[in-house]
């Protein structure tokens, strides 16, 4: 197991009258090499959870084992830098972290902070920019001159260039147009498939979660209320009602079909899959 929360709790404003337990005894093992979604209503603790993965927040109780690091409550942590290098965190609206004069300077910023040599940092950065499909002609342009989608991809390249083993994305497609969103989703799916990176995505977008995430963690009031296969979650009517989940359209379609006597397998994920199964039954 590469990521393992052990009875972890986090309390905001500890020792204050308005203390608030944002994470409450979290026990969670996230599979290495998986794409895992973290969903839950606003205020359920998703961001708090994710910020622990990068030691931006430290546990108040319990511990977190991640890669070779072990973060224990109330102990001084000495390995923050290597941990932050190995776990890349892409924030929501990450384009707001761009600050250097040129795209390439901004992308090498992270690697240099983590102690890469100048040459290594540049090589890694060029590689990362290619992965996010930013054309070479933009390398020496100010990030401010790029479009919204391009800025977002440059920011992501800034994280990828540090060569993280685990990539955590907080609402990576928020505010982008459909074409821009698709490009980013395709990117992390390919990072997972070709480079075997563990991907953790915090998202409200259940369509995307259903389509691309192997596993889903549902948080509610700081507790893990579900952790398991995404397909199982969305095919369980009881769970859907209990967690007030918005149904992806594809699931609505599947449900409508099964209610009308069609047999659709749980594994059917895409329109093509479903239509294929329907056709077989219609043309029998």
């Amino acid at each position: 197991m590469s990521i393992s929360f052990k009875s972890l709790s986090h309390i905001y404003n500890k020792d204050m009258p308005y203390a608030h337990k944002a994470l409450d005894n979290i026990n969670l093992d996230i599979k290495e090499g998986s794409i895992t979604a973290i969903i839950g209503e606003t205020g359920s603790g998703k961001s708090t959870l994710v910020e622990h993965l990068n030691a931006l927040l430290l546990p108040d109780e319990g511990s977190l084992e991640i890669l070779d690091y072990n973060i224990v409550a109330n102990q001084k942590q000495k390995f923050l830098k290597p941990l932050r290098k190995d776990v890349g965190l892409v924030f929501q609206f990450s384009e707001y972290q761009l600050f250097e004069e040129t795209v390439i300077k901004d992308v090498i910023f992270g690697p240099l902070n983590f102690g890469f040599s100048q040459q290594e940092a540049i090589n890694k950065s060029i590689e990362a920019l290619k992965l996010v499909e930013i054309d070479e002609k933009y390398f020496n342009v100010s990030p401010l001159e790029l479009s919204g989608g391009q800025k977002r991809r440059v920011a992501i390249a800034g994280i990828l260039a540090c060569d993280p083993k685990i990539i955590v994305l907080d609402e990576p497609t928020a505010g982008l147009d459909p074409a821009g969103s698709k490009q980013i989703i395709d990117l992390f799916v390919s990072l997972n498939k070709t480079l075997n990176k563990t991907i953790i995505i915090v998202s409200h977008d259940n369509e995307m979660v259903y389509n691309y995430c192997d596993d889903t963690v549902v948080l509610s009031h700081g507790k893990v209320v579900y952790h398991g296969s995404t397909l199982d979650l969305f095919s369980d009517q009881k769970l859907i009602e209990e967690f007030h989940l918005l149904l992806p359209q594809i699931v609505q379609f599947k449900n409508e079909l099964t209610e009308n006597g069609f047999k659709i397998s749980k594994e059917a994920r895409t329109i093509e899959d479903i239509v294929g199964e329907v056709i077989k039954q219609v043309k029998k």
């Binding site: 905001y12 404003n13 204050m16 009258p17 910020e51 990068n54 931006l56 830098k81 932050r84 290098k85 890349g88 965190l89 924030f91 990450s94 707001y96 972290q97 761009l98 600050f99 910023f109 992270g110 902070n113 983590f114 401010l144 800034g158 994280i159 540090c162």
Partner: protein, 266 residues
């Protein structure tokens, strides 16, 4: 920054919350004069009791006021040390490390500390019980006479209220950008001066670019809703003095007069 108490509004309902902001501002000025004039402990006792009464009435909790003193502790200690070294009148109270501490040193320091504590309590009380917007309305009213000299009180008040409205948003944004840069390996606490400069740039540049974007969009939104700088506008909030506002101002005024009298006669 999350523990910051000074200047924070506490949204509850109390008689002190209900007071007119203009009255409270006048009260603040009168009470600050009352705190600074006297040299008698009697005056402090009376002011202290009044402040305590106001605190209880405001229901904001004594704990909050005590917390607002925290940032001052260092300053108070510093003051005590300096006074102990320099003030050499009165009786010798005790000796530490061959430094003789005189009674006047201790009393002078206590005097200043009590003054500061009272002042902080009074201002915290004002900000804790008055919505920032109401405060702006009050300040605008106090500045009204300056309009005679073409001072744009209305525009200034609008600017201040928008600034107040965006402070929480900008604090949140600062935290988020700091976190984002930390996960790119920035260390905001340690490091050489040159790396510190880069760290600060990585925070300031994005903050400015976001702030400008906000400002442009906000200007568009205001314009689209019919705002023209300098044009006549009506006001939704119209402040009205009630009987208890007069009582409040009278109490503050009486306190000030009392403390002036103690200075003269005691």
């Amino acid at each position: 920054m999350k523990g910051l108490v000074f200047g924070k509004y506490i949204p509850i309902d109390s008689i002190i919350h209900k007071l007119d902001p203009r009255g409270k501002l006048i009260g603040l000025i009168l009470m600050i004069i009352a705190v600074f004039i006297p040299k008698s402990w009697w005056a402090f006792l009376v002011i202290g009791l009044l402040v305590l009464l106001a605190l209880i009435l405001a229901k904001v909790g004594i704990k909050m006021i005590v917390q607002s003193f925290k940032p001052m502790i260092f300053m108070m200690l510093f003051l005590l040390v300096i006074n102990s070294l320099t003030v050499k009148t009165g009786d010798v109270l005790f000796t530490i490390a061959s430094v003789q501490v005189y009674s006047d040193a201790v009393f002078n320091t206590l005097f200043v500390i009590v003054r500061l504590m009272l002042m902080i309590s009074i201002t915290t009380l004002l900000t804790a019980t008055t919505k920032p917007l109401d405060l702006t309305l009050g300040i605008e009213w106090l500045l009204k006479p300056l309009e005679l000299f073409k001072f744009p009180t209305h525009e200034v008040a609008m600017m201040v209220s928008i600034a107040l409205r965006f402070i929480p948003t900008i604090i949140e944004e600062t935290m988020r950008i700091m976190d984002a840069q930390k996960s790119r390996g920035v260390d905001f606490e340690n490091g050489s001066i040159s790396s510190k400069i880069v760290s600060i740039l990585s925070l300031i540049v994005p903050l400015f670019s976001v702030a400008f974007e906000r400002a442009y969009e906000l200007a568009d939104a205001m314009e689209a809703r019919g705002y023209v700088p300098g044009a006549k506008r009506t006001r939704y909030h119209i402040l009205k003095f009630k009987y208890y506002d007069y009582i409040f101002i009278f109490i503050c005024l009486a306190t000030m007069v009392f403390s002036i009298l103690t200075r003269i006669y005691l």
